[in-house]
């Protein structure tokens, strides 16, 4: 990039503490990072290192205890449609159909009915659920629900998509397909994505950058650029090299 651009997101010495009985838990300690528009970053680290906490602060569901979190240079406020969250447990509205769930955001923001329905139809197609447009969430498989959750934030013009282990509960086959679909959508739309995962391979497969975190207190310990050309092949030696590097950073447990 020739000229310096304002980052879409910037964390400056960002900390979050929780009161836990008489103790305080430092879920995140002095995190610094920037995220540029169109970037795909993965947060990886052991359980309890503050990945969800960081993501939820970006989403506006938690407020920082210290430091600053800026979007386009302005402090992040409460939750809003510019930051779409894909929850691990989907968080779909059970009383709405697939189409209804996806049209929910546009309707909530005052779009006319016909327009919201057309938007929903488009994104149902994007995630390949056309046959299930009128199904209710309880009639869908986990992978299908996750597709709806993704379509829902895409249909709502989210600038940053936040995903907290979205494919963690899915079988390997479904996970691979959704990873590929996500990359396709990302390549087409140039979304900015923050993706939390436990799996090193998933992080290397998806991300432009992998942010490595450690626990007690939760903190960022490394920020690795992944320069492998896309589409990436997990059997390549370069892929393996990265996998070993990250594995070593994470303490070799993976």
């Amino acid at each position: 990039m020739a000229e310096p651009t304002i980052p879409i997101l910037a964390a400056e010495r960002l900390s979050k503490r929780f009161a836990f009985g008489a103790e305080t838990i430092t879920a995140l300690s002095e995190a610094d990072f920037t995220l540029h528009r169109g970037e795909f970053i993965c947060l990886i680290g052991p359980s309890g290192c503050g990945k969800s906490t960081l993501l939820r602060m970006v989403g506006g569901f938690e407020t920082p205890s210290e430091g600053r979190l800026l979007m386009w240079g302005k402090p992040v406020g409460g939750p809003g449609p510019d930051r779409g969250m894909v929850f691990q447990d989907y968080g779909l509205f059970p009383w709405l159909t697939v189409a209804g769930n996806i049209a929910f955001g546009p309707l909530a923001r005052g779009r006319p009915k016909a327009e919201a329905a057309a938007t929903a139809r488009r994104f149902i197609e994007t995630v390949g659920l056309t046959r299930f447009a009128d199904a209710y969430p309880h009639q869908l498989s986990g992978g299908m629900k996750q597709r709806v959750a993704i379509a829902r934030v895409l249909a709502n013009d989210a600038e940053i998509v936040l995903m907290d282990e979205p494919f963690g509960a899915l079988d390997a086959f479904t996970r691979e397909r959704l990873q590929q679909e996500l990359l396709d959508i990302w390549a087409r739309t140039k979304l900015t994505v923050i993706f939390v995962t436990h799996a090193i391979e998933e992080a290397i497969l998806l991300a432009d950058r992998v942010v490595v975190m450690a626990a007690a207190p939760g903190r960022i310990v490394a920020d690795e650029r992944i320069d492998l050309p896309r589409p990436r092949d997990p059997t390549e030696p370069a892929f393996n090299l990265l996998r070993r590097r990250l594995s070593a950073m994470l303490g070799g447990h993976h």
Binding site: G60, P79, G80, F87, G91, F104, A108, Y136
Partner: protein, 266 residues
């Protein structure tokens, strides 16, 4: 129609459902019919009495062709009392469930009053409202009130927290959250309350009408008992049973339509 042909048209479930009532009817018939000193009249006598109550032409006494009047009187009290109860309990339940001050203000009192059985209110109701239909109406109101109230409170309080986050993330304003999230999420529970409340209204109506009311199914049941007209007592009971059943079926049908999305329904 032969049994095999019937099986072709009537689903298995309906056949099973009808089996127990038929068995009861048969037992009832063979234990009572032809015995002069039986306390319970045989089913055929009850059926004749019911016919006379409904359409007349058999006994032509004071009770002939009065069933419609009594039924309408009871129906108006059941649905009137229930509607009033729902009109108060639904908004109140939503307020108690969602607004902290209202909950702190009213919930303890309501919980304190709740263990008092509806029937225990009857004497007080008679003192306040006098002997007559107004006491019955009040009792129905009370009977339907708590099921609707408690289930509404439960429903609006137990909305999954994730759904609020999802709604906020999608751009729902805090003011719109109630209509877009809380109410639809609470609907199954609210519906359970309505069904229980209406069922209870039918239970309570008889007690309410047993005290000096002139019309109503409860009233003729009580009056007929004093005159030892057991066939009338049983005709009234059967009428109440069937009406309550039909009423519940209608409510369930509405519910299944409205709550298609809920795996517990439909």
């Amino acid at each position: 129609m032969s049994a095999t042909a019937a099986r072709g048209f009537v689903p298995r479930q309906a056949l099973l459902a009808i089996a127990a009532p038929v068995l009861v009817l048969v037992l009832w018939h063979f234990t009572t019919s032809g015995r002069t000193y039986s306390l319970i009249p045989p089913p055929l006598e009850v059926a004749k009495q019911w016919w006379d109550l409904a359409f007349g032409g058999l006994y032509d006494d004071l009770y002939s062709r009065t069933l419609l009047t009594h039924t309408l009187a009871s129906l108006s009290r059941v649905y009137g009392g229930f509607a009033l109860a729902a009109a108060v309990a639904l908004p109140l339940g939503m307020l108690i469930g969602r607004v902290r001050v209202v909950r702190d203000l009213l919930d303890p009192t309501l919980q304190l009053l709740r263990p008092i059985p509806v029937t225990a209110w009857l004497p007080l109701a008679m003192i306040v409202f006098g002997i007559g239909p107004r006491s019955a109406f009040f009792l129905v109101f009370l009977g339907a009130f708590y099921p609707v109230l408690l289930n509404t409170i439960f429903g609006v309080r137990n909305v999954e927290g994730r759904l609020f986050e999802a709604a906020a993330m999608l751009g729902v304003s805090p003011q719109a959250t109630f209509w877009k999230v809380v109410l639809p999420a609470a609907l199954p529970s609210i519906f359970t309350g309505i069904r229980l409340g209406l069922g209870f209204a039918w239970v309570v109506i008889v007690v309410g009408e047993m005290t000096g009311v002139q019309t109503g199914l409860g009233a003729i049941i009580m009056e007929a008992r004093q005159l030892s007209r057991t066939e009338i007592v049983m005709s009234g009971m059967i009428t109440i049973g069937v009406l309550g059943f039909l009423s519940d079926q209608v409510v369930q049908m509405i519910g299944n339509r409205l709550l298609r999305w809920n795996p517990q329904h439909g």
